[in-house]
């Protein structure tokens, strides 16, 4: 049977490579050798070619040697009654296919610049749904979910289901399993993505249902996404194809679902994907390849019914998925976090500046509350008309022997995404700026306000069961009651903030490690102290402490910081010893408070990256959301490519947005006073805290001395600005010592 598959793969590979050679020749004639050839906003060139061959494609002519390599990879056609082994040939033919398709798609970006939308969302009104290559902003944001496990893998769906209902069933099942679904190719012109739209399913990166393109060649975007993850988070070097593909097999749990008749070109793509360890599971009766080896288990499995498609697929890929059953009438899972409730679809809206709204988690006495009790005080959904607004107060009371007031903010912070996970419910903000939208579709399925309490109760028990015993939720929609409780909540927030603010690194003996990202970056270790939160922005010291309490052998381990080796740069013996061991002997020491001397490493999921600007005698920082050029001469994505993967890179350091206004920010190099440039959106986002820190360091107008892209994106421009405003960095000791 394998012989038939291999025959088809080789045939398909010849078709595709020849087709791309033709397209390339036409493009050369039309645009010339120097025509830029690239996917939008990425530091990884054409990522599959870059990662596998180490070749940087920048202009059309660069593709020529790659196509030559593709041609060389094409094995002899299979003929005769006695043949030589074909598995190696098949894999090579598949690889030639993938490499050629990436060139094909890049040429399409030249030929039809508007073929793909650029961003996370589809434009349904204008009938444009295809998103093409994920740019680095999308990739990094989404990549983090693969790293931390909130997305355990992806399904690449090729073709179309027999009807939109089946498409919807499969897609929603993957959503419930937290997987991303990447869609490409068509079956007689019908695409899976369009079927989902017809069935009323929201598609786009936000709902983890990503329409890449209508042709089979768009499959390459899925592989490019995977390989960028390996380079960005796994530190795999471009051109090190063996490590790259092994990384994909071991860490990126992806697979292909071929829906509908499989032709030779699809087979060629499936053959290519086997190189990655990504198996194909089909709904048609195709020849199977069952023995293991290249993939973790089977390579090609056919004739799977649509009911069993998702379950069989994850089993074949060897993926363990924990599906949460939450007692609410709508689907639930991270894949629904990005789903929106648009204005016209709103049934009820609370907060968002329109009505008072707050959320509060508070510790309670064991005897004072009843576990699982959810009470709604005031009108519920059945009592209001569609499109109405209500005030809202969500109070969660938690009790248990291990519960501490320190854990209140941690649990409270979960409300945002836990509520968002419910299909048809949207949540923005937190504390007293929370904003809820409940969609008509959710209400139609029977969703009520009580379910907010139910889902919080269930998820808290599931995720934090180790630190508490009882959880009771009260939901207030009664205006008088909400107004009465709001000031009390605000007082609680203040007390809490002060308590955390007052913690210092010096006063704390135990720091926490975070090796959550080692699933993707095996040598990277974060160490988190009270005054240096995790560079991903997701974990502060308290989070780690709670996480350790919940899972004592998990990724957050207490570290006795031990002997102080350098108080200024932030270097401790206990920390170094831990890092050396946990980084698998690749990093022996790093400093908490310096960018110049052995700065802390990053996996690549950092929110921001700071870089030394030698001429300005200071540092700049750039957040992930800013896609423009920076005075370092590199965009965020290039910077991230330089420092990711767990390496110590003097002159650069990853950090969270919050860290900028922590007292210890780069204090070993002169502190906040060194900050000379940051993007405007970032400055505005942390304005309040930045102003406060300015006052603390005795320069109340410091915020205005920090240049943004409006003042310049080159060192020269920034320096001129610094001189003009009298920035302190200009007159400080040389940053390079």
């Amino acid at each position: 049977m394998s012989r038939l598959v291999c025959f088809a793969v080789i045939q398909g590979a010849y078709n595709i490579v020849s087709k791309v050679e033709g397209a390339f020749k036409m493009a050369m004639d039309k645009y010339g050798a120097n025509q830029p050839l690239a996917f939008p906003n990425t530091a990884y060139y054409l990522p599959v070619i870059y990662s596998i061959l180490g070749v940087k494609i920048e202009k059309l002519a660069d593709a020529e040697p790659v196509l030559k390599r593709c041609r060389e990879l094409l094995p002899p056609h299979m003929s005769g009654s006695i043949h030589t082994p074909y598995l190696g040939n098949t894999l090579d033919a598949g690889m030639a296919t993938i490499l050629a398709e990436e060139i094909f798609e890049a040429i399409r970006y030249v030929e039809e610049p508007d073929f793909y939308l650029h961003g996370e969302d589809c434009d349904l009104e204008n009938g444009k749904i295809w998103l093409g290559a994920a740019d680095d902003t999308v990739f990094r944001k989404r990549g983090v979910e693969f790293v931390d496990g909130s997305a355990p893998g992806f399904a690449a769906i090729v073709g179309a289901a027999p009807n939109p209902e089946i498409a919807k069933m499969i897609a929603e099942d993957y959503q419930k399993k937290n997987l991303y679904t990447f869609m490409c190719a068509n079956q007689s012109g019908t695409t899976f993505a369009e079927q989902l739209v017809q069935a009323g399913v929201q598609i786009g990166w936000g709902t983890r249902l990503v329409p890449f393109g209508p042709d089979i060649s768009a499959a390459v975007f899925a592989l490019g996404f995977a390989n960028r993850a390996a380079m960005a988070f796994g530190g795999v070097k471009p051109g090190d194809y063996a490590t790259m593909l092994k990384y994909n097999k071991d860490r990126i749990f992806a697979f292909i679902n071929a829906l509908g008749e499989v032709n030779a070109e699809w087979a060629a793509n499936a053959g290519g994907a086997i190189n990655w360890g990504f198996p194909t599971i089909a709904d048609t009766d195709i020849p199977e390849i069952l023995p293991t080896g290249i993939c973790t288990y089977e390579h090609v499995v056919g004739n799977i019914s649509h009911d069993h498609m998702t379950a069989k697929s994850i089993e074949v890929r060897g993926l363990k998925v924990a599906v949460t059953e939450i007692p609410i009438p709508v689907a639930y899972g991270p894949a629904f976090e990005g789903e929106r409730v648009r204005k016209d679809d709103i049934y009820l809206e609370c907060g968002g500046g329109k009505t008072p709204c707050f959320e509060l988690v508070q510790i309670a006495d064991m005897d004072a509350i009843e576990d699982g009790k959810v009470e709604v005080i005031g009108p519920d959904l059945k009592d209001v008309q569609p499109g109405n607004r209500l005030p809202l107060g969500v109070i969660v009371q938690i009790a248990g022997r291990k519960m501490q007031p320190d854990y209140e903010p941690i649990l409270e912070r979960q409300i945002h995404h836990l509520v968002n996970y419910a299909q048809g419910v949207m949540h923005i903000g937190q504390r007293d700026i929370a904003w809820y939208r409940i969609g008509k579709s959710a209400v139609e399925k029977g969703f009520t306000l009580e379910h907010i309490g139910k889902l919080l109760h269930a998820k808290y028990h599931q995720d934090f069961g180790a630190i508490f015993d009882k959880c009771q939720v009260t939901i207030y929609t009664d205006e008088a009651k909400v107004k009465e409780l709001l000031p009390k909540a605000q007082a609680a927030y203040r007390t809490r903030d002060e308590r955390v603010e007052n913690m210092t690194d010096e006063g704390t003996e135990t720091y926490y490690s975070c090796t959550l990202c080692q699933s993707f970056a095996p040598t990277h270790v974060c160490v988190i102290s009270p005054e240096r939160t995790g560079l991903c922005g997701a974990y502060n010291w308290l989070d780690c402490k709670a996480s350790n309490e919940i899972n004592p052998t998990g990724p957050n381990q207490p570290i006795q910081k031990g002997e102080v080796l350098d108080p200024k740069l932030g270097n401790w013996k206990g920390v170094n010893d831990f890092v050396y061991k946990a980084s698998r002997q690749s990093v022996s020491s790093y400093n908490f408070y310096s960018i110049v001397y052995d700065p802390m490493t990053t996996c690549g999921c950092c929110e921001c990256i700071a870089a030394v600007l030698p001429m300005c005698n200071g540092v700049m920082t750039v957040n992930r959301d800013y896609t423009g050029m920076t005075p370092s001469g590199m965009k965020f994505t290039t910077l991230a490519g330089t420092i990711g993967g767990g390496n110590v890179t003097p002159g650069f350091v990853g950090h969270s947005k919050y860290t900028v206004t922590q007292r210890k920010f780069l204090v070993g190099d002169g502190g906040l006073k060194r900050l000379v440039w940051m993007p405007k959106i970032f400055k505005e986002e942390i304005r309040e805290r930045l102003v406060k820190r300015g006052e603390e360091i005795g320069i109340p107008n410091f915020i205005d001395m920090i240049a943004t892209e409006e003042n310049g994106t080159t060192e020269d421009e920034v320096y001129a600005f610094l001189e003009k405003v009298g920035h302190p960095a200009v007159t400080m000791d040389s940053i390079l010592g």
Binding site: M1, I82, T84, G88, L245, F253, G293
Partner: protein, 654 residues
């Protein structure tokens, strides 16, 4: 020249179907009988094996004897010097190891000599053909390859590999390829070879009268000497041959006498080294010679190989192979062989006589191997054409003056040959995922039960090819993947088991893997020095993981069911010392029931090595090998069905 032996004395009548299963050979044996020409089958029937020699119970190491002990009651007597049966048996065994090792290492040294001359630019006829292999071999023994030219690397590699032979202390270079745990066992036992010359010399010294008279101590030096063959001389021969002539990758090629062509000038090269053959390929493809052959009335020149010379070029170039060791005399009886050129090893002296009977021009080419009655044309690497031209000229001349009646058996058997270690890597993962992982995985999950090496000669004391073929069939039926070298692989090729379709004869699991990869269930690796490829494959299986830490942990076994040479004994000993259970057929030159026998068949395994086994019957042999494989599977904890592990994020972090 007397061809008809029957006049000399009465011959024991033999039924040809009792002595061979090779149809072509049987047909030619009949012809030889009709022509009254003697052959090894007949001589074996007429020559009863010396009973004392067969038990190796006789000592001729000094002239106080020869002393003859009683194999039936081995401890009843000692030699004149007091040597016990264990000492005598071990010393005799050691001499076989020394001789076998000398043959392979001298072959390897010849390759190193040529390599040196190529590197130094003194030979223009050969060049470094496989630079990738050069780099990978150099890298495997820690020679820097990054950013260096092939010339620089080759110079260092030559110097390093020369140590395999000449070094007097330390460890041979390829010891670096041995799995660490196996190497540790050797170090503990003090048997890591220093250099071939030193080990052979010491073994010869120790077995002199009145030196080493402790059989356990003698066996240690046997192991050390054998290891310098497997991991030294043979491995160097294989690697240099690949570098100079290209690493084999599968070719569809043919085996059997049917490849002789009546209307062509037929030339057969027989022996062991690739040099003569490679040059013969060049000569027979020379357009001038093809023209000359045509002018002489032939349609062209047909070059064929036999024995291990043939196995080398079968794998590398797809040159047809006319048959294994015992078919070399019968092939001449076709009358179609215009010339036969030989180099070294396994060249029966009788070929000179048989050639004369059929007017075949018979050439010796190596100064080490001259035969009374043969035409000697020295093969000299600096000017190979001086030798090969003479052979081709003589062959064309003989074609024009053919007198013998031509009868060519029709049989032609196509199969896939040339599974080098490098290709096996590629075969299992393509250019980008090349590795042994799929092999190990499918052994772990039980589709493949284990791997067996079935190798070695053919021997007129057993039915030619029969034991090889039946053993291999039985093994693959039980899901044991078989790798082969030398004359054994030719036996299986003739039986059609080197074809991918032969997978239908394999058990379900092995068949499924064969179909996935597109490979036959029997992989043909090359000549007998290419047994080193099996050692490399074993090391790679250990390195790939999941099957234990040392070669001795692997679910593998070896067999030489029809062996006849001392080289085979040496090969067997290096497999045993490397950790492989190795079963021999035909006869075993050690008295059963002695302490020495017990050491070889049991004691060595207890010390962390492999062990010897013996069986005549192919099915019994298969059972012994499978039982051993199952024992190793049991120890590895991979007996039952493997559970499907699903990976959580925690698993991925681990």
């Amino acid at each position: 020249m007397r061809c008809n032996m029957s006049e000399e004395k009465k011959q024991k009548p033999i039924n040809f179907r009792d002595v061979s299963t090779c149809e072509s050979t049987i047909q030619m044996l009949q012809k030889m009988a009709d022509d009254g020409v003697a052959n090894a089958f007949q001589r074996a029937a007429d020559m009863k094996p010396c009973p004392i020699g067969a038990d190796s119970a006789c000592c001729k190491h000094c002239f106080m004897g020869p002393c003859r002990l009683n194999a039936k009651d081995p401890y009843s007597k000692v030699g004149v010097c007091g040597a016990t049966i264990d000492t005598i048996g071990a010393r005799n065994f050691a001499r076989m190891v020394a001789s076998g090792c000398a043959a392979h290492t001298d072959h390897g040294m010849g390759m190193v000599d040529v390599f040196r001359e190529v590197v130094r630019g003194n030979i223009s006829g050969y060049k470094i053909k496989d630079e990738e292999k050069l780099r990978s071999v150099a890298k495997s023994i820690d020679i820097e390859v990054e950013g260096r030219t092939a010339q620089e690397i080759a110079t260092d590699l030559y110097e390093e590999l020369e140590r395999t032979y000449t070094q007097v202390e330390g460890e041979i270079p390829f010891a670096k390829r041995v799995p660490p745990k196996t190497l540790e066992t050797w170090r503990k036992a003090g048997i890591v070879p220093r250099g071939a010359m030193r080990e052979i010399m010491e073994l010869m010294h120790r077995t002199h009268i009145g030196v080493d008279q402790d059989y356990e101590n003698i066996v240690k030096q046997c192991s050390r000497t054998a290891l310098v063959d497997g991991w030294g001389g043979s491995m160097v021969a294989t690697e240099i041959s690949d570098i100079l002539f290209g690493t084999p990758k599968p070719v569809v090629a043919g085996v059997n006498m049917g490849f002789l062509k009546e209307d062509h000038v037929n030339i057969i090269v027989h022996g062991h080294e690739p040099l003569l053959f490679e040059s013969m390929i060049a000569a027979t493809n020379d357009p001038a010679y093809i023209e000359k052959a045509k002018a002489a009335g032939a349609k062209g020149i047909q070059l064929l190989g036999m024995c291990c010379s043939g196995a080398e070029v079968l794998a590398r170039h797809g040159v047809p192979h006319a048959g294994n060791f015992l078919s070399v005399e019968p092939v001449i009886a076709t009358g179609a062989v215009d010339a036969m050129a030989v180099d070294v090893q396994c060249i029966m002296q009788a070929l000179s006589t048989v050639s004369a009977c059929y007017n075949t021009r018979f050439f010796t080419t190596n100064p080490r191997c001259r035969i009374d009655g043969a035409i000697h044309v020295p093969f000299e690497e600096h000017h190979p054409e001086a030798c090969t031209n003479k052979i081709v000229d003589a062959a064309i001349d003989r074609f024009q003056n053919r007198t013998a009646k031509i009868e060519i058996p029709r049989r032609k058997d196509m199969g896939v040959h040339g599974f080098s270690h490098e290709y096996i890597n590629y075969m299992l993962g393509g250019s980008f995922r090349a590795s042994y992982v799929p092999l190990n995985e499918n052994i772990i999950n039980g589709r493949i039960r284990g791997v067996a090496g079935v190798v070695g000669c053919t021997n007129p004391r057993v039915k030619q090819d029969y034991v090889h073929v039946e053993l291999v069939k039985e093994l693959i039926k039980n899901n044991v993947l078989v790798v082969q070298t030398g004359c054994s692989q030719i036996a299986l090729a003739k039986a059609g088991l080197d074809k991918p379709d032969a997978a239908v004869m394999a058990g379900d699991g092995l068949r499924e893997v064969c179909e996935t990869v597109g490979m036959p269930p029997v992989l043909s690796l090359g000549s007998c020095v290419d047994n080193s490829r099996i050692l490399i494959a074993c090391s790679e299986m250990v390195r790939t993981g999941g099957l234990g830490d040392s070669i001795a942990d692997l679910p593998v076994a070896g067999a030489a069911p029809e062996y006849m040479s001392e080289k085979a004994i040496c090969i067997g000993q290096y497999f045993v010392a490397s950790g492989v259970y190795t079963v021999f057929g035909v006869t075993f030159p050690v008295v059963e029931g002695t302490k020495f026998h017990k050491l070889l068949f049991e004691g060595l395994e207890e010390q962390g090595f492999g062990k010897w086994g013996f069986a005549l019957d192919p099915y019994e042999m298969a059972r012994m090998m499978i039982d051993h494989i199952d024992k190793k599977r049991m120890a590895l904890g991979i007996m039952g069905e493997r559970e499907r592990k699903l990976f959580s994020m925690e698993d991925r972090r681990a």
